[in-house]
């Protein structure tokens, strides 16, 4: 087993562990923290199911963002939708035999990478061109975009510029999953791609990528508007004296 394979295998186990435990801990801390008062942004759905549907619309359609800024919505949607297709396409490296719908998705996933990278480029351009957004941007906001662009471009280069040995790559990936390590092809674009992905996984729980779990816990979106009908209790508040 080459040191390269060992390094990358360990890297991925470490990154995955940080991702799973880090995000898991965050979710736990959000879930554990009480929401003492009813604060849905109204008009809001009157039932919990309605509120769930509202959150789903935020996640799938970016409803509020659409209300506020069409450019950010467009670039954000391009990036996230592109990323989703690309991720689904990557399932082929982890399944054997590859599920049929993943096979059918391959051509779309391939070109979705353009959507993804285009969206990222648009979002990054706004950080320079719009003074208000330039004002609020921190170095980490830029670096996050660099990281994602790096992942996207290095991945695309293997598809559109020089093909990598995906047969051995798949063996390496499956090997990771089944704890039966196989050699990793020493292809520079692939190594860059995998390194950046591992970095992304590792920093996920300590960065603004927490918006992904966060959106499900936002009380202004996930609470139903039923404050009068149903008493909402605050766990830490003083009780009514009898």
């Amino acid at each position: 087993m080459s040191w390269l394979t060992v390094t990358y295998a360990c890297l991925f186990y470490a990154a995955t562990a940080m991702f799973v435990f880090g995000v898991g801990f965050r979710i736990y801390s959000y879930a554990r923290t009480p929401a003492p008062l009813k604060i849905p942004t109204t008009p809001a759905p009157l039932t919990p199911a309605g509120a769930g549907f509202r959150v789903a619309r935020e996640v799938v359609l970016f409803e509020s963002l659409f209300k506020s800024n069409k450019w950010i919505w467009l670039f954000g949607a391009m990036f996230h939708f592109g990323l989703l297709l690309v991720l689904l396409r990557h399932l082929r490296y982890f399944t054997e035999p590859v599920w049929t719908w993943v096979v059918l998705l391959q051509p779309f996933g391939k070109y979705a990478s353009f959507l993804m990278v285009g969206g990222l480029a648009g979002l990054w351009a706004r950080r320079f061109l719009v003074p208000r957004i330039r004002y609020i941007s921190t170095p980490s906001d830029h670096l996050m975009l660099v990281l994602l662009l790096g992942i996207g471009l290095s991945g695309m280069s293997m598809d559109f510029v020089s093909h990598t040995d995906i047969i051995s790559l798949k063996e390496f990936a499956l090997g990771l999953v089944y704890f039966d390590w196989q050699p990793l092809p020493a292809d520079p674009p692939l190594l860059v791609h995998l390194f950046l992905v591992a970095t992304l996984l590792a920093i996920f729980p300590i960065s603004k990528l927490l918006h992904a779990p966060g959106v499900f816990f936002s009380p202004t979106r996930n609470q139903a508007d039923n404050a009068r009908e149903q008493q909402h209790v605050t766990p830490w508040a003083p009780k009514l004296e009898p």
């Binding site: 959000y30 942004t41 109204t42 957004i133 609020i136 170095p139 920093i203 909402h232 605050t234």
Partner: protein, 498 residues
């Protein structure tokens, strides 16, 4: 035109996002509360020596108590969608008044003390130590937010800057830093029962005077009862309704509605205030204590229903929080088991034909309606989402012939705050208030020019006080401002129905 010590923004024919002017509003601060005011609320009188640790500990406590605060500190992606949504930014051009930048004033400290990245790579993520300068900055800019929640409508994660502002004010208070305006008022409610410090006897005199006025005006004996045991309805209304103009005209309106519908009602000298400034400073205990007077009064007077008068944040507290703070209100009539807005009551009566209304009495008025943000984005009326938009307009259209809405981006859930809410309604913040009113003034100007609108109807005491003071700066007459029930009062024909 009123005289200003600052430049009053020009009204433009269509909204323009301003060019950033850093620190434009850095020197505009509310008067701080003195030691006596702070101590009366249980806050320290002066900055403790270990204020830094106290403040950080308080932040940690709030992170554990409020999911909103915890999640909102982590979730913002700096997308910038909210940057042009705050009326204070639009009116002042100060970038710290962009909602995300306002949150970041607190978030940079959160990151420094509570996150891995901020502890080890502060520069990278914009984390900063808590210093006296940062504390001052908090005091300035968290008192240039009216907690109106407009930003939360537009944020993809629903991040509500009002929650962040409340947390910041709560932290400031625990190290003795508060504003004279809000905290003095909260003290008055605890001592006397209302924001104005109006004692019971003075209140009775005022009400008797109003009864005489109505009699002189209409020839009918309309009563404004106080502390009547066994009345059906307890009316909880902002104390400004008792004597401020144009508020008092709405109070007369409620009285006429109850009179004609034959509903027995009463005010309470113990709970003579609907407003609850505990909300503004984000302090649960203060908010609960202020609200508790209402439960006590309702039980003491043995009423069957509680009705809340025209007040934005008060309706938020009543609608959204009473059940949590002072509920369950299970002693109320099962048909009206929860607090009702006076507009709900009036609309219900109108639909049942219980009121005799002469629309033509309002023909000299061409009316528009300002959605008060606390009603619009933090509560409801009636039994369907958006009832808070529909019902007041339905009332206006039932009592008047000429109504025109302002531009769609400035009403309903997207309404612009009046500029004076959230504890900013004080003369020391006049510059913030005038500039913050700009987006609303532009929308008003448009309907004035296009439709000849000469009356802006409201359902909020703070909005009424704010607008009467601020519209003259923009060349409008303060008599344009009035309550929805002022219109009802004009239209209602007393003595025709019993």
């Amino acid at each position: 035109m009123a005289q200003a010590k600052f430049e009053v923004p020009k009204l433009k024919p269509y909204p323009v996002i301003p060019v950033l002017k850093e620190n434009a509003m850095a020197e505009v601060k509310s008067f701080p509360a003195n030691a006596g005011i702070q101590q009366a609320l249980g806050f320290p009188g002066e900055l403790p020596e270990d204020w830094h640790d106290v403040a950080i500990a308080k932040m940690g406590e709030l992170l554990d108590k409020y999911r909103s605060f915890r999640v909102y500190m982590d979730t913002c992606v700096h997308c910038g969608a909210c940057t042009d949504k705050c009326h204070y930014f639009l009116g002042t051009s100060d970038p710290n008044n962009m909602p995300v930048a306002r949150q970041d004033l607190l978030r940079k400290v959160y990151r420094r003390y509570f996150t891995f990245a901020g502890k080890y790579f502060p520069k990278l993520v914009g984390a900063e130590d808590l210093t006296r300068d940062v504390l001052d900055q908090w005091y300035t800019y968290f008192h240039q937010c009216s907690e109106c929640r407009r930003c939360s409508v537009f944020c993809p994660y629903g991040i509500d800057t009002a929650e962040v502002t409340m947390a910041a004010r709560e932290i400031l208070d625990t190290v003795s830093v508060g504003t004279k305006y809000t905290n003095e008022i909260i003290g008055k409610v605890h001592k006397i029962g209302n924001n104005l410090g109006l004692p019971g006897p003075a209140l009775e005199d005022t009400l008797t005077g109003l009864e005489e006025d109505i009699k002189a005006d209409t020839g009918v004996d309309v009563r404004l009862p106080i502390d009547v045991k066994g009345a059906e309805v307890l009316l909880i209304t902002p104390s400004a309704d008792f004597f401020a103009e144009p508020h008092v005209d709405s109070l007369i309106g409620y009285a006429k509605v109850f009179h004609q519908a034959g509903i027995s009602w009463t005010l309470s000298s113990h709970a003579s205030e609907a407003g609850n400034f505990g909300l503004f400073i984000g302090n649960y205990e203060q908010m609960r204590k202020v609200a508790m007077r209402i439960r006590e009064a309702a039980l003491d007077l043995g009423v069957k229903r509680i009705v809340v008068g025209e007040c934005g944040h008060a309706w938020r507290v009543a609608y959204s929080f009473w059940n949590t703070l002072i509920g369950p209100l299970d002693f109320l009539d099962k048909r009206y088991p929860w607090p009702q807005h006076v507009c709900e009551v009036t609309w219900d009566l109108i639909q049942r034909g219980a009121l005799t209304l002469d629309k033509e009495a309002n023909d000299h008025r061409i009316i528009t309606f300002h959605d008060s943000c606390n009603v619009a984005r933090a509560s409801r009326m009636g039994n369907m989402p958006g009832g808070q938009f529909f019902i007041p307009r339905a009332i206006i259209k039932s009592v008047a012939n000429h109504f025109h809405d302002m531009a769609p981006d400035t009403i309903e859930e997207k309404t612009f705050c009046c500029g004076g809410g959230g504890g900013l309604l004080t003369d020391d913040l006049m510059e913030v208030r005038v500039k913050g009113a700009l987006p609303r003034m532009e929308a008003l100007k448009q309907v004035v020019d296009d439709h000849g609108v000469n009356f802006m109807a409201l359902i909020c005491a703070i909005c009424k006080s704010q607008f009467t003071k601020v519209v003259p700066y923009y060349g409008f007459d303060m008599s344009m401002i009035g309550g929805v029930h002022q219109l009802v009062s004009t239209a209602i024909q007393l003595g025709t129905k019993q």
